[in-house]
C-alpha cells in the first residue's frame, strides 16, 4: 500500500464516536444547538407552508367571484353555464339588530352543499322554512339559551319581534362582535326587510386553479359581460387571485428567518468545537505522534460534526413536525413534511460541516512536540503588568484575560442573539394597540356615525337619498354636542353621482376640496391640478387613478369630459372636465373617495342639500368617559334608523386577537434565537469549570476557601456577561430605534418605547445563568473528595 493511502475510514469513525461519548457535555450542547436550529427552521417552514395549504383548502371551498345585483333568473342561467362549476345565491341585510344586548345580522346563503362553503354546518340542517334559522352556538350562549336543535327564540327584527326555530349550528368565531343568522330562501324572498334586496351570485369557475391571474380575470369579466352584469358589480376573490401569482412572500420570510437561525447556530457550534479542540491539544498531539495525518485529524473532527448532525437533525425534524401540527393542523400534510425534512436535513448537514471546518483545520495544525510538553492549554505570553494582590476578583480577571478568544466567541454569539432580541422586544413595546385600532376612521375620533349604506348593495345615487333626509344635520350635531364630555365633531362630506365615460357607467363618490386642501394640489399629476382651474372649469381631480382604472377597466385622461348624473331631489346631468389625474393619494388612511371636486362646484350642483356623509366624534378623556358617551350616543340614535354607530372600542376588540397573535410570534422567535446564545454560554461556563477541575482542587489544597472559589467564579461570570450586556444594550437600542423609525413610515401605530421589562429579564438572565451554572458545577465537583479531584488530569 502506498504511504499516501489512508484506508481506515472505520477507525476514524470509531475515534470520532469515542470522542463525542467521552465529552458528553460539549457533545450534548452541540447536538442541542443543531436540534434547536432544525426544530425552529422546520417549525417555521411547516407553519408557513401549512398556512398556505390551509388557505388553499379554504379557497377550494370559496367562491372565485361575486356578481352583485343579479336576479334569481340570472342565477339560474349561470348555474347551468358550462364554464361555471357552481353558482349559489346570496343576500345580506346590512342592518344590525340586538336582542338582550347581543348583536346579529341576517344572511341568506344558498350554497349549502357543493364546493362553496360559506359556513361550516356543525349540527342540524340548512334552513328551509320561513322561520328556520342557522346560528353559531356562542350566539345562543350569550342569550342565555340552551344550544339545542329546535330551540325557539324571539328575535327583534326592526321594531317587531318574531319567533324563530333553530334548525342547526355553525362553527363560530369567538371574537365575533356581531353574530350571523342564516335564514331560508323563503324568508329572504318574502320578509319585507330582505325581499327587495338584490341577489349576489357566488360563483366558482371551472378549471381556473392553474391559470394565470390575468386569464382568470378575463374569464370572470367575460362571464359578467355575457350575463349583462356591469363591471362595478363584479367582485373578484382577491385571495384567490393572489394565490395564482407565482412566487410569494412566505418563501422570503422562511429564507430570511432560517438564515438568521442558521447563523446563530453556526456561531454556537463553531464556538463549542473551537473550545473542544483547543482543550484536546494533548490528545490530538498524541494521535499525530502515533501516526494520524493532518487530513485524518480534520476528518475526525468533521466526522464528529456529522455524527452530531445525524443525531440532532431527526429529533429536530420530529419536534418541528409536531409543533407545526399543533399550530396549524388544518394545513399540515405528510407530503409537505417530507419535502421540508429533506431540504432542511441537507442544509443542516452543510451548515454544521461549514461550522466545524475551521476548528478541524486548527486541530490538524497542532504540533505533536508542543502538545506532548503541555499539560494545560498553551496560552499566549502577555506583557506582565504591575502585581496586584491576588484576590478572587483579580484571579477572575486573569482567567478572563487569558481566555480572550473563548470569551470573545461567547460574547459574539450572545450579542447576536441579544441584539435580535432587543429589536423584537422594542417592536412589541413600541406597538400602541390603541393607535393600531385607530388606523383608518378613528385616527382623530372615537366614534363614527354614518348612513347605513353599503357598496355591496348600492343605490342609484349612493347615499344621496339618505342625505336628502338631512339626518346628519345640525339638529343631531347639537344633540351630540350636548352630551357631556364630547370634545368635538368633525363632519365629513361626500357627494355621489353616476359617471359615464368611454362606454362605462359607474357610481362614484366625490370628496369636496377647498382652496386650503393644499396637499391635493401638491400631488404629482397630469393636467391642471389647482383649485381655481377646477372651480372655473367645473373640473374634477382623480387621485390614486390605478385603483379606479383597475375596477372600471378604463384609463382616465386629463382634459377629457365625463357625463355626470346626480340627484338632489331631481335628476340632473352635466358635463364635467377631468382636470387632473394622479397616481398618488393625499389620503393616507384610505377613508376618502379618490375623486375630488371643488367645494364651490359641489355648492353649484347640490345647492343647499346636506352633503354630510359621517360625523366623527371625539371625547374628552376617552378612557374615563368613553362608556358614558357611547351609551348616550346609542340612546340618541334609536330614533335614526338610517344611521349606524361604529366605535373604537369595537375595533379594539376586533384587532386585539390579531395583535396578540403577532406579538406572541415575535417574542417566540426572539426567545428561541436567544436560546442558542444561552446554550453557548452554559457550555462555555461549564467546560471552563470542568476543564479546571484539577486547578480548582489545587487552589483548595493550598488553602483557598470554598467562599473564595465561589467569589472567583461569580466574578468570572460577571466579567463574561458584562461586555455582552453593554454591547447588546448599546447596539440593540440603536438597532431597535432604527427599526422602529423605519417601520413608522408605514406603521403609524408604532411609537418608540424602550423595552424595560424584557431588558431587565435579559440582564438578570445573562448574569444569573452563568452564576447558577458555576455554583451548580462547583457543588457537584465538591461531592468528590479533594484528593480524588487532585488526581484527575484537567482535560
Amino acid at each position: 500500500m502506498s504511504l499516501n493511502k489512508n484506508n481506515n475510514e472505520a477507525i476514524i469513525y470509531r475515534i470520532a464516536k469515542n470522542n463525542l461519548v467521552s465529552k458528553k457535555m460539549s457533545s450534548f450542547f452541540s447536538m442541542l444547538s443543531i436540534l434547536l436550529a432544525i426544530t425552529l427552521v422546520s417549525t417555521l417552514s411547516l407553519f408557513i407552508i401549512g398556512t398556505q395549504t390551509a388557505e388553499q383548502n379554504i379557497l377550494n371551498h370559496m367562491q372565485h367571484v361575486m356578481y352583485m345585483n343579479v336576479t334569481d333568473e340570472q342565477i339560474q342561467r349561470m348555474a347551468s353555464d358550462d364554464r361555471i362549476e357552481q353558482c349559489a345565491p346570496y343576500k345580506e341585510l346590512e342592518k344590525e339588530f340586538q336582542t338582550q344586548g347581543v348583536a346579529y345580522r341576517f344572511f341568506y346563503n344558498g350554497a349549502c352543499g357543493g364546493n362553496i362553503q360559506s359556513y361550516i354546518l356543525k349540527k342540524g340542517k340548512a334552513p328551509q322554512a320561513y322561520h328556520e334559522i342557522l346560528v353559531d352556538q356562542a350566539f345562543l350562549q350569550e342569550l342565555g339559551r340552551d344550544a339545542v336543535l329546535g330551540e325557539r327564540i324571539d328575535l327583534d327584527i326592526g321594531g317587531e319581534t318574531q319567533e324563530f326555530t333553530v334548525c342547526g349550528y355553525t362553527e363560530g368565531n369567538d371574537s365575533t362582535v356581531t353574530h350571523p343568522i342564516h335564514v331560508s330562501k323563503t324568508f329572504a324572498d318574502q320578509n319585507p326587510l330582505m325581499k327587495d334586496l338584490p341577489y349576489t351570485a357566488l360563483v366558482r369557475i371551472k378549471d381556473v386553479t392553474n391559470v394565470s391571474g390575468s386569464t382568470f380575470t378575463t374569464i370572470a369579466y367575460q362571464i359578467a359581460l355575457d350575463y349583462k352584469i356591469e363591471r362595478p358589480n363584479v367582485n373578484l376573490n382577491g385571495k384567490f387571485e393572489e394565490s395564482l401569482l407565482k412566487g410569494n412572500s412566505g418563501t422570503y420570510v422562511i429564507l430570511f428567518i432560517s438564515t438568521l437561525l442558521f447563523i446563530a447556530s453556526s456561531i454556537v457550534i463553531y464556538s463549542i468545537f473551537y473550545l473542544s479542540v483547543t482543550a484536546r491539544v494533548q490528545q490530538i498531539g498524541q494521535l499525530q505522534t502515533i501516526g494520524m495525518t493532518e487530513k485524518q485529524v480534520k476528518q475526525m473532527i468533521r466526522r464528529e460534526g456529522f455524527l452530531l448532525s445525524v443525531c440532532g437533525i431527526p429529533i429536530g425534524l420530529l419536534m418541528g413536525g409536531m409543533i407545526s401540527y399543533l399550530l396549524i393542523p388544518e394545513g399540515w400534510t405528510f407530503q409537505n413534511f417530507w419535502i421540508a425534512a429533506l431540504n432542511i436535513s441537507v442544509l443542516g448537514i452543510l451548515i454544521v460541516q461549514l461550522s466545524v471546518r475551521k476548528p478541524a483545520s486548527i486541530a490538524s495544525k497542532f504540533s505533536p512536540i508542543e502538545a506532548s510538553r503541555t499539560v494545560e492549554p498553551v496560552t499566549k505570553e502577555r506583557p506582565v503588568n504591575k502585581h496586584k494582590a491576588l484576590t478572587p476578583y483579580v484571579l477572575a480577571r486573569m482567567e478572563s484575560k487569558n481566555n480572550r478568544k473563548k470569551w470573545w466567541f461567547t460574547t459574539v454569539s450572545l450579542a447576536f442573539g441579544g441584539i435580535l432580541f432587543m429589536v423584537a422586544t422594542t417592536w412589541v413595546a413600541s406597538w400602541d394597540q390603541e393607535q393600531y385600532a385607530r388606523e383608518g376612521i378613528f385616527s382623530n375620533s372615537e366614534y363614527d356615525i354614518s348612513y347605513l349604506y353599503t357598496h355591496s348593495t348600492p343605490k342609484p345615487y349612493g347615499i344621496t337619498e339618505f342625505q336628502l333626509s338631512g339626518h346628519l344635520g345640525s339638529q343631531l350635531e347639537d344633540d351630540i354636542r350636548k352630551i357631556p364630555n364630547v370634545k368635538d365633531i368633525h363632519i365629513e362630506e361626500e357627494v355621489f353621482g353616476n359617471i359615464e365615460y368611454k362606454g362605462v357607467t359607474f357610481l362614484q363618490g366625490f370628496y369636496p376640496i377647498s382652496a386650503d386642501d393644499t396637499e391635493y394640489y401638491q400631488l404629482l399629476s397630469k393636467g391642471n391640478n389647482n383649485y381655481n382651474y377646477m372651480v372655473e372649469h367645473d373640473a374634477i381631480l382623480i387621485t390614486d387613478s390605478s385603483f379606479s382604472e383597475n375596477i372600471n377597466g378604463i384609463t382616465f385622461e386629463a382634459g377629457e369630459k365625463i357625463k355626470f348624473r346626480y340627484f338632489d331631489g331631481e335628476e340632473h346631468t352635466i358635463e364635467l372636465e377631468i382636470g387632473a389625474v394622479t397616481a398618488e393619494s393625499a389620503d393616507g388612511y384610505g377613508n376618502r373617495p379618490n375623486f375630488c371636486m371643488a367645494d364651490k362646484t359641489v355648492e353649484k350642483l347640490w345647492k343647499a342639500m346636506n352633503t354630510a356623509s359621517s360625523f366623527s366624534i371625539s371625547v374628552e378623556d376617552y378612557e374615563k368617559n368613553g362608556k358614558q358617551v357611547e351609551a348616550a350616543l346609542q340612546t340618541l340614535l334609536v330614533d335614526y334608523e338610517d344611521l349606524s354607530l361604529s366605535t373604537l372600542r369595537e375595533k379594539e376588540i376586533e384587532v386585539s386577537g390579531e395583535i396578540k397573535n403577532i406579538q406572541m410570534q415575535i417574542y417566540g422567535i426572539s426567545i428561541f434565537i436567544i436560546l442558542f446564545s444561552i446554550f453557548n454560554l452554559i457550555n462555555t461556563v461549564m467546560s471552563s469549570i470542568i476543564n479546571r477541575k484539577k486547578q480548582l482542587s489545587m487552589l483548595e489544597s493550598i488553602g483557598m476557601e470554598e467562599r473564595q472559589v465561589r467569589n472567583m467564579l461569580f466574578w468570572e461570570s460577571f466579567l463574561l456577561a458584562l461586555p455582552n450586556i453593554l454591547f447588546t444594550l448599546t447596539f440593540g437600542t440603536i438597532a431597535g430605534f432604527a427599526f422602529t423609525s423605519f417601520m413608522q413610515q408605514s406603521a403609524h401605530y408604532l411609537e418608540y418605547h424602550f423595552p424595560v421589562i424584557p431588558v431587565i429579564f435579559y440582564v438578570i438572565g445573562m448574569i444569573g445563568i452563568p452564576m447558577l451554572i458555576s455554583f451548580g458545577c462547583l457543588k457537584r465537583q465538591n461531592n468528590i473528595s479533594l484528593v480524588e479531584r487532585m488526581k484527575n488530569e484537567d482535560s
Binding site: 498553551v378 502585581h387 491576588l390 489545587m698 487552589l699 489544597s701 493550598i702 488553602g703 483557598m704 470554598e706
Partner: protein, 224 residues
C-alpha cells in the same frame, strides 16, 4: 519539640469482606526542623498518610496534631485556612497555576490569606532557589525542574509549620532530582523548616535526617 504527631491513625475504604486498610494504625512524631522521608512500595499507603497529615483527607479513626492543633475536629473551610497558614505542599506534578506568573504563584497562599508578602523573605527564597530572573515568566515557559523550584518557593512563602512533599522528584531526571533534593535540604537547614517527603526512591531517601518505611499501611521501620 514535635511539630507533628499522630496517634493510631487509620484509613479504611469499603466494608467487610472487601475492606481495604490503606492506613492501619500509624502513630508517629516528627521533630521540628527535621527532614523526614517516608518510603515504601507502590500501594503501601504513603500518599494516603501524607494527604491526611496535610488535612487533604480525613482519617477513619485516630488523631493528627500539627503545631499543637488537632485536625480531626476541623470543618472544610477551617482545614483550608489551616493549610494555607500551616502547611506547604509540593506535588509531583508541580500543580502551578498556568495563568499566573512565577511571582504570583509563589505569593498565592499568602495573598489568599489576606496578608502582605514579606518582601525580604521572598527575596531570600527566590535567590536561594535561583528564581530571581524568572519571576515574570509563566510556568509553561519553564522546565520541569524550574517549575518544581517554584512549587518549593510557594510552599515556603507562607512560612508554614511543615512542608509536605509528595514524590517531588517523580517527574524529573536524576540530575534535576538531585538538585531539587539538595534545595529541599538547604531550605530545611536555612529556614529551620520541617519537611516530610514521600519517595519510592531509596537513594534519595539517603539524603534525609530520618527515614520511615511503610508497608501495608503500617510503619515497619523508622531510622535516623
Amino acid at each position: 519539640m514535635n511539630i507533628l504527631s499522630t496517634n493510631n491513625l487509620t484509613k479504611y475504604y469499603g466494608a467487610e469482606p472487601l475492606l481495604v486498610k490503606a492506613i492501619d494504625g500509624i502513630s508517629l512524631e516528627i521533630e521540628q526542623g527535621s527532614f523526614t522521608a517516608i518510603v515504601g512500595t507502590s500501594g503501601s499507603g504513603k500518599s494516603t498518610l501524607l494527604h491526611m497529615l496535610g488535612g487533604l483527607d480525613t482519617p477513619t479513626s485516630g488523631s493528627i496534631y500539627v503545631d499543637g492543633q488537632e485536625l480531626s475536629g476541623m470543618g472544610k473551610n477551617e482545614l483550608a485556612i489551616f493549610r494555607r497558614r500551616k502547611i506547604g505542599f509540593i506535588f509531583q506534578n508541580y500543580n502551578l497555576m498556568p495563568n499566573l506568573t512565577v511571582y504570583d504563584n509563589i505569593v498565592l497562599p499568602v495573598e489568599l490569606d489576606g496578608r502582605s508578602v514579606d518582601k525580604e523573605y521572598f527575596t531570600i527564597i527566590a535567590r536561594t532557589l535561583g528564581l530571581e530572573d524568572k519571576l515574570n515568566r509563566k510556568p509553561n515557559k519553564l522546565s520541569g525542574g524550574q517549575q518544581q523550584r517554584v512549587a518549593i518557593a510557594r510552599a515556603l512563602a507562607a512560612k508554614p509549620a511543615i512542608i509536605l512533599a509528595d514524590e517531588p522528584t517523580g517527574n524529573l531526571d536524576s540530575h534535576t532530582s538531585g538538585e531539587v533534593i539538595g534545595l529541599l535540604k538547604t531550605t530545611s537547614e536555612k529556614f529551620h523548616q520541617t519537611i516530610v517527603m514521600i519517595t519510592h526512591n531509596e537513594e534519595i531517601a539517603q539524603s534525609v535526617d530520618r527515614t520511615i518505611r511503610i508497608e501495608d499501611g503500617k510503619i515497619v521501620e523508622s531510622r535516623w
